[in-house]
């Protein structure tokens, strides 16, 4: 039997995990579903986005939820010129660390700037949510961030 006669078959393996999100991340995801961005205030006064249940430095409980954004600044980014099937956008985009207005940490998300020439570290961007009917309480409720210039100025 020639080697080319070895069989092939498509398989898929899937684990349908679901997890409890807890009160802090739950509040963050609830905010996304409602079209708002939230961080949490640490005992030292800084605002952590996305929020954590504990201060990453001291381990102390974090405090109240604080609304942040919707605009922010790009701290760093990497251009994806050839998106893969499971990437959030099918067209080229940037993965970026975005420090939202009012936050002291950066959030990793997508910047849809059209091309790498239209994006620079320090650029202002603003959130673009999916339509309310499509939002479910997940990171993908944020479709992307877009340059503020493209939205006709600051969204603040």
């Amino acid at each position: 039997m020639p080697e080319s006669e070895a069989l092939h078959a498509s398989h898929h393996l899937e684990y349908p995990y679901s997890r409890s999100v807890g009160p802090v991340i739950g509040a963050f995801l609830t905010g996304l579903r409602d079209g708002k961005l939230f961080g949490v205030r640490s005992p030292g006064g800084s605002v952590i986005v996305p929020p954590t249940e504990y201060d990453p430095t001291t381990g102390e409980d974090t405090g109240e939820m604080v609304e942040v954004g919707p605009g922010g600044a790009v701290e760093s980014w990497a251009w994806v010129s050839d998106p893969r099937p499971k990437h959030p956008l099918s067209r080229p985009f940037a993965w970026a660390l975005i420090r939202l207005d009012g936050a002291d940490t950066a959030l990793l998300h997508v910047v849809d700037s059209g091309g790498p020439d239209a994006l620079a570290t320090g650029d202002r961007v603003t959130v673009r949510f999916r339509p309310a009917a499509e939002r479910i309480g997940a990171m993908a409720d944020i479709e992307s961030f877009v340059p503020e210039a493209a939205t006709g100025g600051s969204a603040r």
Partner: protein, 170 residues
């Protein structure tokens, strides 16, 4: 992407669905493809080692003892001996067979390697080591290059095999 659970349409989000999925193309290789194509024809195909003479089914294409390629194809009988078994009484996610059922290692006549098969047409408390069984296949037009072509094994009425005939396969 995923569906989330909330305490109602406007309540707090409490759960996040995080499915993990892997899509892949599987090839069993040339030797096991031969076994699978045999199943498609309603027969068990194995391979014999030219050094030790043992017959492997399904064959991996080489002898694990002698390290030589196995090139001689051997068609095996449609019947064999239960070497050991397990009665499954525990339900689990994705179970497709009604419990209780019997899962057994079947040593086909002429083979030197047993493989796992479903045993049916016998009460679970009558299963025993050494029982002689035969394969029951799907209808000819339903045969595929898959073990799903074998519906199950069932007792074939022959006297139990002598322990000495299968003791080295336990």
């Amino acid at each position: 992407m995923s569906d989330e659970t909330t305490d109602g349409p406007s309540g707090p989000v409490t759960t996040l669905a995080t499915p993990i999925r892997l899509d892949f193309d599987f090839t069993p290789g040339v030797a096991q493809s031969r076994f699978l194509r045999g199943l498609e024809q309603g027969k068990f195909m194995g391979q014999r080692c030219s050094v030790c003479g043992k017959v492997y089914v399904p064959s991996r294409g080489s002898c694990p003892t002698d390290g030589v390629p196995t090139t001689e194809d051997v068609e095996l009988a449609n019947k064999g001996t239960i070497t050991t078994y397990c009665v499954v009484n525990v339900p689990f996610a994705g179970q497709s067979i009604e419990i209780p059922y019997i899962c057994a290692q079947v040593l086909l006549d002429g083979a030197n390697l047993s493989f796992m098969g479903l045993i049916q047409e016998i009460p679970t408390d009558e299963i025993r080591m050494g029982m002689r069984v035969e394969a029951v296949w799907v209808e000819p037009d339903q045969l595929t290059p898959s073990l799903a072509s074998v519906r199950y094994f069932r007792p074939n009425g022959e006297p139990d095999a002598d322990y000495d005939t299968y003791k080295e396969y336990l």
